[in-house]
C-alpha cells in the first residue's frame, strides 16, 4: 500500500557557475539596497531640485532601483542573460536552480522547484499576515476606548492603509500561493510548473513588492485608506510613490503566477487526466488565476497613471487638469471586486477538496461546483460600481449594478449546496481541516447575507462608508477566506513536512479565532448600524461598548493566530509523523512520497478515474 516511488538523487558536485552559485536572499537584499542607493544618488543629483514633483520622481526611481537590484542580486536575471549571450542552461544548471541536494538552503534561493516555491509562499503569507495583524492590533488598541491615544493620529491613519493592503496581498496568495504551487502541479500529474523560472520570479517579485510596501510605512504618510483614490493622494508625500510602485510590482508577480498556473494545468496534465477528473482544487486555482489575469491589469493601470500624475504632472485623475477622480475609482473597482473572488475561489475550492476527503465521499455535483466558481468569476467583472453607489457617479446605473450584484448570491449559494451535499450522509473525519471548514460555513453565511444588504441601494445609502461595511468584508476575508486557508494549511501540512499540525493546539487556535471573529465583527456590525463611519481614529461615547468588544475580540483572534503560528513552527520538525498519505486520499499529491521527490514522478502516472472513489485506496505503480 505504499508508493514505490523513491527519489534516488545522484550526488552532483556543483562545479562552475561562479558567483551565481552563491546567490540567495541576502545577496538579493544587498543588490536591492545597492540598486536603490545608486538610483537615488543619480536621480537626486540629476533632477532639478526646484520642481514640485522631484521628490516623487526620486522616490519612484529609488523604488525601481530596489526591485531591479533585488532581481539581479537574487539571480532572477541569470538565465535570461545566459541565454542572451548564447549560453543556454545545461541540465546540471537547471537541477542546481531546482535546488537539488541543497537541503534547507534552497528555501533562501531563487529556486525553481514548485514545492520549494510553495513553502516559500507559506512563509511569505505568514509574514504578511503577521505584519498586517500587528497593525490590526495597533488599530484596535487605539480604538479600545473613546479618545485613546495609543499611536499618533497621523500614524494611525497610515496604519489603516497599510494594514488593508498587506492583508489583501496576503490573502490573494494565501491559498493560491502555497497550494497552487505545492500541490496543484502534482495533482495534475506534472513534474513541475510549465515555467519553473517564472514561478520563482513570481514569488521573489512578491517579496520585492512587500519590501516596497514596508518602505511606505517607514517613510510614513500614507494616510488615505488602502484604496488611495485621488484627490487626497495629491496631499500624500513619497510614501504614496512607494505604495503605487509596490502595487505595480505586485501585479507583475500575480500575472506571472497566473499565466504559469493556467499553462501548467492546460499543457502539463498527465495521460488520462481529463478536465473532469481533475481534483476540484485545480479548477479553483485556474479559475482564480484567469480572473486575476482579467482584473490585475486595471490595478497596474491605476497605479501607473497615478505615478505619471505625480511625477510628470499629468492629470489623469486630477479634476482641475481635465481628469477626474471618478475615472480612478472606476478603474480601481474594476480590479477591486474581481479581486475579492480571486481571493475567495481558491479557498472555496480547497474546502470542496477537504470536504470530499474528510467525509469520504465524492464532491457533490462536481459540475455544479465548477459552474458556481465560473459563474461567480464571470459575474464579478460586472459589479464594480456597487462600490460607487454613493459617490454621485452615474446614478442611473445604480439599478443595473444592483441587479448584477444581487445575482452573485446565486453562484455563492451553489457553494453551500456543494459543501453541504458533500458532507451529507458522509462518515466525517473530525480532524483539524474539518473543524476549520465548519467554521468557514458558519462565517460565510453571515458574510454573504450582509453583502446582500449592501448591494441594495436604499440600504447602502445609509450603511456605505460605515463600520458595517468593514465588518462585512472582514467576515469575508477573516471569517471565511482565512478559515479556508487555515483548513487548507492543516490539510496539506503533512504533505509538506511529513508531520501533522498539532490537533490540540490547532483546536485551541480554532476556538480562539472562531469566538474572536464573532465577538469582533458582530459588535462591529452594531457600531456601523448605530452610525459609526469607517477609518475613524476616534469616536464619540455612543459607540463605546461595541468598540470595546471589538477590540477584545480582535485580541482573541490574534491569540488564536499566535497559537497557530507556534503550532506551525513547532510541528515542522517535532509534530506527529503522518506518513505520505495521512488522509487516505486518492489525488496524486497523496500518492507520491513525503516530501515529494524533485520532479515528483519517476514515471508519470496514467489516470483512469477521478480521485473521489474512497472504496479503494490507490497506489502509484
Amino acid at each position: 500500500m505504499t508508493t514505490t516511488l523513491e527519489h534516488k538523487a545522484p550526488v552532483i558536485k556543483h562545479e562552475g557557475g561562479g558567483l551565481a552559485r552563491h546567490q540567495n536572499f541576502l545577496t538579493g537584499l544587498i543588490g536591492g539596497v545597492a540598486g536603490a542607493f545608486i538610483a537615488w544618488a543619480i536621480s537626486h543629483h540629476l533632477l532639478a531640485q526646484d520642481v514640485r514633483t522631484t521628490s516623487d520622481a526620486v522616490a519612484v526611481l529609488t523604488g525601481c532601483g530596489w526591485i531591479v537590484g533585488f532581481w539581479f542580486g537574487i539571480g532572477a536575471l541569470n538565465a535570461p542573460f545566459a541565454w542572451l549571450i548564447g549560453k543556454d542552461q545545461t541540465r546540471k544548471d537547471q537541477l542546481y536552480y531546482a535546488g537539488e541536494d541543497q537541503g534547507t538552503k534552497r528555501y533562501w534561493k531563487y529556486c525553481t522547484d514548485h514545492k520549494v516555491v510553495g513553502v516559500q509562499y507559506i512563509v511569505m503569507t505568514m509574514v504578511l499576515l503577521g505584519a498586517g495583524g500587528i497593525l490590526a492590533m495597533a488599530i484596535r488598541t487605539e480604538l479600545i476606548v473613546p479618545g485613546n491615544h495609543f499611536v499618533d493620529q497621523q500614524v494611525y491613519n497610515g496604519f489603516i492603509a497599510v494594514h488593508g493592503m498587506l492583508m489583501i496581498l496576503a490573502l490573494i496568495v494565501a491559498v493560491a500561493g502555497p497550494w497552487g504551487n505545492f500541490v496543484v502541479p502534482i495533482m495534475c500529474g506534472a513534474k513541475d510548473m510549465a515555467f519553473p523560472r517564472l514561478n520563482a520570479l513570481s514569488l521573489w517579485t512578491l517579496v520585492g513588492a512587500a519590501g516596497l510596501l514596508l518602505t511606505t510605512l517607514a517613510v510614513g504618510s500614507l494616510t488615505m485608506g488602502w484604496v488611495v483614490l485621488a484627490p487626497i493622494t495629491d496631499q500624500a508625500a513619497v510614501g504614496m510613490d512607494f505604495f503605487a510602485l509596490a502595487i505595480l510590482v505586485f501585479t507583475v508577480s500575480t500575472t506571472v503566477a497566473g499565466v504559469n498556473t493556467i499553462c501548467t494545468v492546460f499543457t502539463m496534465r498527465t495521460k488520462g487526466m481529463t478536465l473532469e477528473r481533475l481534483p476540484i482544487m485545480v479548477w479553483g486555482a485556474i479559475i482564480a488565476a484567469a480572473l486575476g489575469l482579467y482584473a490585475f491589469p486595471y490595478f497596474s493601470l491605476v497605479e501607473a497613471l497615478q505615478i505619471l500624475d505625480r511625477t510628470f504632472s499629468t492629470s489623469f485623475f486630477i479634476g482641475n487638469g481635465g481628469g477626474t477622480g471618478w475615472l480612478q475609482a472606476n478603474l480601481f473597482w474594476l480590479m477591486g471586486h474581481p479581486e475579492v473572488y480571486v481571493i475567495l475561489i481558491p479557498a472555496v475550492a480547497a474546502l470542496f477538496e477537504i470536504a470530499a476527503v474528510m467525509a469520504r465521499k465524492p464532491v457533490f455535483s462536481y459540475r455544479t461546483a465548477v459552474a458556481g466558481m465560473v459563474g461567480l468569476a464571470g459575474l464579478s467583472i460586472l459589479v464594480w460600481a456597487h462600490h460607487m453607489f454613493t459617490t454621485g457617479w452615474a446614478p442611473t446605473l445604480g439599478g443595473p449594478f444592483m441587479v448584477t450584484t444581487e445575482l452573485i448570491s446565486i453562484p455563492t449559494g451553489l457553494f453551500f449546496l456543494v459543501l453541504i451535499g458533500t458532507l451529507w450522509r458522509g462518515n466525517i473525519w473530525m480532524k483539524l481541516p474539518t473543524v476549520w471548514m465548519f467554521g468557514f460555513i458558519a462565517n460565510f453565511i453571515i458574510a454573504g447575507i450582509t453583502g446582500i444588504y449592501l448591494s441594495d441601494i436604499p440600504i447602502d445609502n445609509q450603511l456605505h462608508g460605515t463600520m458595517f461595511v468593514t465588518a462585512h468584508f472582514h467576515y469575508v476575508f477573516v471569517g471565511s477566506v482565512l478559515f479556508g486557508a487555515i483548513a487548507a494549511l492543516a490539510f496539506w501540512y503533512p504533505k509538506v513536512t511529513g508531520r501533522f499540525l498539532d490537533e490540540k493546539l490547532g483546536r485551541i487556535s480554532f476556538w480562539l479565532a472562531f469566538i474572536g471573529v464573532q465577538v469582533t465583527f458582530l459588535s462591529m456590525f452594531i457600531s456601523g448600524l448605530r452610525g459609526m463611519p469607517r477609518r475613524y481614529a476616534s469616536y464619540s461615547f455612543i459607540f463605546e461598548h461595541t468598540n470595546f468588544l471589538t477590540t477584545i475580540g480582535a485580541y482573541m483572534i490574534m491569540a488564536g493566530m499566535l497559537v497557530l503560528m507556534a503550532a506551525v513552527i513547532y510541528c515542522w520538525n517535532h509534530g506527529e509523523p503522518s506518513g505520505s498519505n495521512p488522509w487516505h486520499a486518492n489525488s496524486l499529491e497523496w500518492l507520491v512520497s513525503t516530501p515529494p521527490p524533485l520532479e515528483n514522478f519517476d514515471v508519470l502516472p496514467v489516470i483512469t478515474e477521478d480521485p473521489y472513489n474512497f472504496e479503494k485506496e490507490m497506489v502509484l505503480s
Binding site: M224, R360, G392, G413, W429, P458, G465
Partner: protein, 248 residues
C-alpha cells in the same frame, strides 16, 4: 461495501432545528434593525430600515437552513474513534436537489431585486418642483451650508437647519479632497467632490436634531468632521433664516 441506504437518518430533527432557528432569526430580523439603527427622521431612512427588516426576514430561513444542516451533520455523521472512516455513500449528483436549490435561490434573488428596485424608485419619487436648496461645502475638516436669503443674499451656517415637511435639495461639493456627506438619521449620503457637484434630496418628517458625518476618509481629522443638523417647523426655520446675517 456500502449501499445507498447507508447513513440515512430521519430528517425530523433537522426540520425542527431549521424551524426553530428560522423563528429566532425572523424575530431578531423584525426587532434588531429598528432597535440598532438611528431614529428615522425621513421617508428615506424609514425605507432603509424597512428594507433591512424585509431582507433579514427573507434571509433568516436560508441562514437557519445552513446552520441547521451543519449542526445536523455534526450530530449525526461524524466518525467516532481513531480509525480511518470507511467510505461514505458515493452519490455524486442529484438533479432534483440541484434544481430545487437553484430555483429557490433564483426566486429569493428575484424577490430581493423587485423589492430593492421598487424601494429605489420610491426613494427617488415624490420630488417637488420647489425644494429648499442648500449648498453643502466640505473642506478639511468642516462642513458649511449656504442658503439663499431674501434679495438674493447668501447665508452661511456651520450647523444644518432644515424645515420639516419640505423637500430639501442639497448641492454637495468640496473645496479640497473627497468627503462623504452623510445624514445618519435621514438615511442618505453622497460624496462631496472638489471637481463637481452632486445632488441629494430628502424630506425631513420629524422635528429634532440629527448628525452630519463624513464617510470618506479625508485626512488627519476625518473622525472629527462632524456637525449638527436641526429640523425646525417651517415658521421657526423662516425665523432662523431671516435672523442670519447675509454674507457680504
Amino acid at each position: 461495501m456500502t449501499n445507498s441506504n447507508e447513513n440515512k437518518k430521519s430528517l425530523k430533527s433537522f426540520y425542527w432545528l431549521w424551524a426553530i432557528l428560522t423563528v429566532l432569526g425572523v424575530a431578531a430580523s423584525l426587532y434588531a434593525p429598528g432597535y440598532l439603527m438611528p431614529k428615522s427622521m425621513s421617508q428615506s431612512m424609514h425605507l432603509s430600515i424597512l428594507t433591512m427588516v424585509v431582507f433579514s426576514v427573507a434571509a433568516a430561513p436560508v441562514a437557519a437552513g445552513v446552520y441547521a444542516a451543519a449542526l445536523y451533520i455534526l450530530r449525526n455523521w461524524t466518525h467516532k474513534g481513531d480509525t480511518v472512516p470507511a467510505a461514505g455513500p458515493a452519490f455524486r449528483e442529484s438533479g432534483k436537489v440541484v434544481i430545487t436549490w437553484t430555483l429557490t435561490s433564483i426566486l429569493l434573488t428575484v424577490f430581493l431585486l423587485i423589492w430593492g428596485l421598487g424601494a429605489l424608485a420610491a426613494d427617488g419619487a415624490g420630488s417637488t418642483s420647489n425644494p429648499l436648496v442648500v449648498k453643502v461645502v466640505g473642506q478639511q475638516w468642516v462642513w458649511s451650508f449656504e442658503y439663499q436669503g431674501a434679495n438674493g443674499t447668501t447665508i452661511m451656517s456651520n450647523d444644518l437647519y432644515v424645515p420639516k415637511g419640505r423637500e430639501v435639495l442639497f448641492h454637495v461639493t468640496s473645496l479640497d479632497v473627497t468627503h462623504g456627506f452623510w445624514l445618519p438619521q435621514m438615511g442618505i449620503q453622497v460624496d462631496a467632490n472638489n471637481d463637481t457637484t452632486t445632488d441629494l434630496r430628502v424630506t425631513p418628517n420629524k422635528l429634532g436634531t440629527f448628525d452630519v458625518r463624513c464617510t470618506q476618509f479625508c485626512g488627519l481629522n476625518h473622525a472629527f468632521m462632524v456637525t449638527q443638523g436641526h429640523v425646525l417647523t417651517p415658521s421657526a426655520f423662516t425665523t432662523w433664516l431671516n435672523a442670519q446675517p447675509a454674507r457680504s
